[in-house]
Symmetry: C2
Subunit: 395 residues, 2 copies
């Protein structure tokens, strides 16, 4: 399930309406100052199966609370808005999320508990409910079999482009995701809807989603932040009639494409950095080392400066406790873009052999020589543009 | 032992030669491109007691290895160099640290194990031993009772100013510290020498130092990095003849002054931020929440932009597991510079009431309403200058 070993072809033109049985729309309701900001995705069946993964943040938004109080296993529709996260908005915010679900349910003739609600944007501001209702009404009226692209546009915040991924075949998968900051473990400030016309039981759907999320969204870490609103929803219509044997692999490939697109559009980044930890004693050990490396502002600024600063790599590895990730510091090898700049914990080949300036993609590999496990994690560099975007975001 | 409640007056003009029984010198040996780069501090007694605290990083530098192999309890001298960390330099690097201690020991007529060695600068490069020897020789020849200031200059790297702190009285304490990046838990890229003419047993010295470090250097976190070289050394000469009852309190006050100076000179920072977590169920819980808040690049860039983004504060608190820091997310209160911008997990007073632009100092307080413990941690903002300095450091 490593990013670099995934050879399943994914089509980034296939959105949530690519699979049979789904309609979607995205409209401008005036919640953001410009652009589309309300999306609706509907599963027309014949089957209604869903699964979700929600933020692990203890401070979670009102729509997340609503979804925690539903089963999450039978969503017929999702309504999403950008322009406001409806987080830290108290009882009133929660009532707004419930009312949004009720409004959509009434319009579609389903139960409120069959409607998922997702919000993204600033924390601490109430949603303009008049605009939400008007946008929901307009979006539902516009639902169509080719509305996936508009829906993907409507969930963008600081994203510079919409993000979709899918696989077409005997059965199909389509998806959309948003998120460009706060990409982190236990997921990102990210809203993601994945649709499929495969025939799945709810247990199959949840298990496949858990695995796919673990090896995709939980393997990117842009800035160590974890959002209050993160949501991934999978909906299955069964419209293809196919009971697939390879659904988890294909779903993971789609989710990895989305995760890779998120990193590629992370706020202000100028390099995408694949951290590969090999020779780990366990997946947990490798992941702990990868996360420690990905969280070093010193390393991330060095990469911005095209500097293969391997000293900062091994210094970060050294911060992981030995009981979490056993390794001998004098055995560490580090490669930047294939050049072995650190051998056995000391100086390796000349760092001037490393070219970080010609390509956006950088691969840092560290071999712990402590086992056989390999972990990959995508992150990015820390740039002036990151500082600029995030110092000005709420003003 | 909170920073804000420490009322012991500390004099930032008092360096390592302020106490009786110490000589020091700092010289230019040409290791750095400009400025002094080798310092020596000697304890002339009558007593020779010392204690040290070393980096917790598993990847530690050659001089740290040397000090781990000495007892650390009877240092008569410390030699420090800037311009090279002697980290990730293998067997050869270790032999260089040993040889440095031997050279100084021979010149002073003491045992090599009585000489501490500290290095700071780039990782992965061998020290120019000819220059180290010449610098050590010159510094030893120049040792004097007023050499503390020169020694403080000689240990600077990206520091913009030397940092000293002391207390004069029946007995005295003096000190110097360097470090401006990689300030972090389990200490900073920091070399610190503290001297005193108090009469202390080795056990008293070590215990006082452990407490002082915990409430000072371990309560600052600039960028989450932990260095390979961090060292704090305390040396006691007993020359005052005083056996103090208040040594730990005074030592902590001195160490807090040094820690505060480190944050005030952190690379590229434009705001110094005191994070106060009150209402914590335990010190550990409060510290975990404080560290989570201090590590948010999103919050730190917001503060650079004079934006009291309390949503990012509570979102970071929410990433701390409930078994580490129990609290009710709906009970959280947050103040920026005294303005209650978040009440009971939701919107409080208007954020426009907060002025972050007029002063470098910012206080963020979060009340967890889960107990009586209070923890304070200093950090700073994330700025364009930080990105600039750290993307260009090794080039």
């Amino acid at each position: 399930m490593l990013f670099s070993r995934n050879t399943i072809p994914v089509d980034t033109e296939l959105g949530v309406t690519a699979p049979q049985g789904f309609r979607a729309a995205g409209v401008s309701a005036g919640i953001k100052s410009a652009g589309k900001d309300v999306a609706v995705v509907v599963n027309d069946g014949p089957e209604v199966v869903s699964a979700h993964v929600l933020t692990q943040n203890r401070v979670f938004a009102a729509p997340v609370q609503w979804m925690k109080e539903t089963t999450g296993s039978n969503y017929r529709a999702v309504i999403l808005n950008s322009g406001g996260a409806n987080a830290a908005t108290g009882e009133r915010g929660y009532r707004d999320s419930v009312e949004t679900a009720q409004f959509v349910a009434t319009k579609l003739g389903v139960e409120p508990a069959e409607v998922a609600v997702c919000s993204t944007g600033l924390i601490g501001e109430l949603l303009p409910m008049g605009k939400i209702r008007a946008g929901a009404e307009e979006a539902i009226d516009l639902l169509s079999r080719d509305g996936g692209g508009d829906a993907a546009l409507a969930i963008m915040t600081t994203d510079t482009r919409p993000k979709q991924a899918g696989i077409a075949g005997e059965y199909s998968i389509g998806s959309m995701v948003k998120g460009a900051g706060m990409l982190a473990p236990g997921m990102a400030t990210m809203l993601c809807v994945i649709t499929t016309d495969a025939v799945l039981t709810q247990a199959q759907a949840q298990r496949a989603l858990d695995i796919a999320v673990e090896y995709s969204f939980n393997r990117i870490d842009s800035d160590g932040a974890m959002s209050t609103n993160d949501t991934v929803i999978l909906m299955a219509s069964g419209a293809s009639g196919v009971e697939p044997a390879d659904f988890t692999e294909n779903l993971t490939a789609v989710a990895q494409s989305l995760a890779r697109q998120l990193i590629g559009d992370a706020e202000g980044a100028s390099h995408d950095v694949l951290i590969r930890v090999s020779g780990a004693s366990s997946q947990e050990a490798g992941l702990a080392v990868a996360r420690a490396i990905s969280r070093s502002n010193l390393l991330k600024t060095a990469i911005f400066g095209n500097d293969p600063n391997w000293g900062r790599v091994i210094a970060q590895a050294g911060t992981v406790p030995a009981d979490v990730a056993p390794f001998d510091p004098d055995a560490l090898d580090v490669w930047f873009n294939g050049v072995p700049v650190c051998r056995s914990g000391g100086v390796g080949d000349d760092r001037s052999l490393v070219d970080l300036g010609s390509s956006r993609d950088v691969t840092i590999e560290i071999d712990l020589h402590a086992g056989q496990e390999v972990v990959e994690l995508w992150t990015n560099d820390l740039t002036h543009d990151y500082v600029h975007e995030n110092s000005a975001y709420s003003t």
